[in-house]
């Protein structure tokens, strides 16, 4: 089986060390994530607006709504969490590659969990509706939200104190992926993509994924193929969850059942990812597919590169295979 041909040209900002500023490692991680998104050379994300509260000085706070708002996240010290009330940090980033006003909001609000491993993440398919303040993020009536138990983002880093951030974006801005790794696990996975071949009523066609956790590989079959809680979009008039499909048999995806490479070619499978939903009112298969991302073998070790030479053209994090820049992937 030949290696897949990439559909996109990719930009990489990978192997970044994040953390090391205990007890504010999480602030450093989220800050570096934001910096990664806005500093890609081609079609970077742009700041629509932001709010901050200093992590140690409660009296130091401000906010700015867009369009053309101020990026107040000038260092990790301005990335402060709260529990649903009170001044805290949020930022809205736009990406024209996903659509004219498509934006995301990273809201450093862990709600009732009280745990900095949680955020609110929001996609605004058609832009911000209601501006935010220092104590509440911007909103929109058609927003797609990851929150509560589904707000784990992977960058807590309180365990070891540091980890790695890998940011990847296509040059046209249509596909963005973030991986957090720590202690040889892929702790967090974010994705903001325009799917390939979306059904016609999916406007704008933007799909997002947020999944994070502790000491396990989060971008896994168990999460993303067995559930539709983590991969979401706005479809029609409501939020729709998607299964990231995988080819399978005997009750497993083939990536889960194959514990050995192909006996003849010694190759591992790259399995394409289609999107499907079994939830009303949009039940059906093949709502779209994900470009340049594949399911791999679940027995694959994090950081495994493909092909089996020194070129490192692809890398596996969790059970997902990503295009790679040829560097040695760091996972601790």
């Amino acid at each position: 089986m030949a290696l897949p041909t990439l559909e996109k040209t990719w930009q990489f900002n990978v192997n970044q060390i994040v953390g090391g500023v205990y007890p504010n490692n999480h602030s450093d991680a989220i800050y570096r994530l934001k910096q990664s998104l806005i500093t890609f050379a081609s079609n970077p994300w742009t700041v629509w607006g932001s709010a901050y509260r200093h992590i140690t000085n409660p009296g130091d706070y401000n906010y700015s709504n867009g369009p053309g708002g101020v990026d107040y996240w000038t260092s990790y010290q301005r990335c402060h969490w709260t529990n649903g009330t009170g001044n805290h940090s949020w930022i809205v980033l736009q990406q024209s590659g996903l659509g004219t006003n498509v934006a995301i909001c990273i809201d450093c609000n862990y709600g009732v969990t009280g745990d900095i491993n949680y955020i609110n993440l929001i996609i605004f398919p058609t832009g911000v509706g209601t501006p935010g303040t220092n104590s509440s993020r911007p909103t929109a009536t058609d927003e797609v939200v990851w929150t509560g138990n589904y707000g784990q983002w992977g960058g807590g880093y309180q365990l070891l104190g540091y980890g790695r951030l890998h940011a990847m974006q296509s040059t046209d801005g249509e596909c963005t992926r973030i991986i957090f790794t720590q202690n040889n696990y892929a702790n967090g996975f974010w994705l903001f993509d325009k799917p390939k071949d979306p059904i016609s009523l999916w406007t704008p066609p933007v799909v997002g994924v947020l999944i994070g956790g502790g000491s396990t590989d989060e971008p896994s079959y168990g999460h993303l193929n067995h559930n539709s809680y983590y991969c979401k979009s706005r479809l029609g008039s409501q939020t729709q969850g998607f299964y990231m499909l995988a080819e399978g048999c005997i009750g497993d995806s083939i990536g889960e059942m194959m514990a050995f490479p192909d006996d003849d070619s010694a190759e591992w499978p790259f399995i394409q990812i289609q999107l499907a939903t079994i939830d009303m009112p949009h039940r059906g298969t093949f709502k779209g597919s994900i470009r340049d991302l594949w399911w791999g073998p679940s027995v694959g070790t994090i950081g495994t590169c493909y092909p089996d030479d020194t070129s490192k053209q692809f890398v596996q994090f969790g059970s997902l295979i990503f295009p790679w820049d040829g560097s040695t992937p760091r996972t601790i």
Partner: protein, 350 residues
């Protein structure tokens, strides 16, 4: 009732890789008439038909007439009377048919041996990848050391270990044999549909003898042969439970017999075709999923051992005999969970 179902989301109808010949809707009402109909269809195709290698009519009366022949090309199944069952060691009928589209001497054997089951709903169906090795007799079928036993006449215990006929205890039934073969002889499918127990009607048998598309290079004879069926109380003629979830498909490998799965798109522990219970909410269409072949057999392990030509998984919510697309053209039909190219006729089930 036959339905004409809108085709699937977001995609045009599939383009066939093969040109197909159809001998379908052939009536049967017994194990003998079923096998006779299947045999006659296989040898009756205009292009690259199966040919008789040898046969046995299961009797020694009158004694002066040869009742079996190996490699003589004589078809002794001239009526249902010549299709007789027995257990091992007893006079019974067998038929060996060759199809060079699957390999120079590739052949199948239909063996009317019901073994310990003592019921003609059981039989042996065997694939000879390289032809017959040991000749047959009045009491024993031909054999080969590399043969693949698709159906075990000893009486299987699984729900899909039947070829499509009915248990003798079921009483009278009516059914149809549908035989479809590509013009190059590389792909042959036999489907049995009939009435069953407790008012059931559906597909009770599915036989597949195919050369695979885009096979793994190491497969010198890239053939997938499958057999699954039910006793008539449930759909069995090509279902997820048999071909996706279990091993009812095999193929020759150079040093062994590979066990194959027909893969499909899935989420969690279930295929999507089993989870989709309604037409697509957005497009009103039903899915058709391509079928790849995977194996966990040592020396043959891999996920893309080949692809099945012109055959797709459908939704289990779709009934046997329903056609696609939704314009009455009947270009495809679903039997069990599998979607086959069709000839435009009204598919008859019983």
């Amino acid at each position: 009732m036959e339905q004409h179902l809108p085709r699937l989301p977001n995609m045009p109808l599939p383009v066939l890789d093969k040109t197909w010949q159809h001998t379908v809707n052939v009536a049967c009402n017994s194990s003998s008439t079923l096998l006779l109909a299947a045999k006659n269809a296989l040898i009756g195709f205009a292009s690259n038909p199966w040919t008789v290698w040898g046969s046995c009519d299961g009797t020694n009366i009158p004694p002066e007439v040869p009742h079996y022949g190996n490699g003589d090309g004589i078809d002794r199944w001239t009526s249902p009377f010549e299709v007789k069952w027995s257990s091992s060691g007893g006079n019974h009928s067998w038929m060996v048919l060759k199809q060079p589209g699957l390999g120079t001497n590739a052949a199948i054997c239909l063996d009317c041996n019901y073994g310990s089951a003592m019921d003609a709903s059981y039989m042996g169906i065997i694939f000879f990848p390289t032809g017959v090795g040991t000749n047959g007799s009045l009491t024993a079928r031909p054999s080969a050391i590399d043969e693949i036993l698709l159906l075990d006449y000893s009486g299987g215990s699984g729900p899909y270990e039947f070829y499509g006929s009915a248990l003798s205890t079921m009483g009278a039934w009516t059914g149809r044999v549908h035989v479809m073969q590509s013009t190059d002889g590389e792909c042959t499918r036999v489907v049995v549909t009939r009435s069953g127990t407790l008012g059931f009607t559906g597909a009770t048998g599915c036989w597949i003898f195919d050369k695979m598309k885009s096979p793994a290079p190491a497969l010198t004879q890239p053939v997938a042969v499958a057999m699954c069926g039910s006793n008539g109380s449930l759909e069995g003629g090509g279902v997820y439970g048999a071909l996706n979830d279990d091993i009812y498909c095999w193929g020759p490998n150079s040093s062994s017999i590979a066990e194959y799965y027909f893969t499909t798109e899935g989420a969690g522990t279930t295929s999507l075709g089993q989870q989709i219970t309604v037409a697509d909410d957005d497009t009103g269409e039903w899915p058709m999923f391509s079928i790849d072949v995977a194996s966990q057999t040592l020396y043959n392990r891999g996920v893309k051992r080949g692809r099945i030509y012109d055959l797709w998984w459908g939704a289990t919510a779709v009934a046997t005999g329903d056609c696609y697309p939704g314009d009455g053209s009947r270009q495809f039909v679903q039997f069990g969970d599998l979607i086959h190219p069709w000839d435009g006729s009204i598919p008859l089930i019983t």
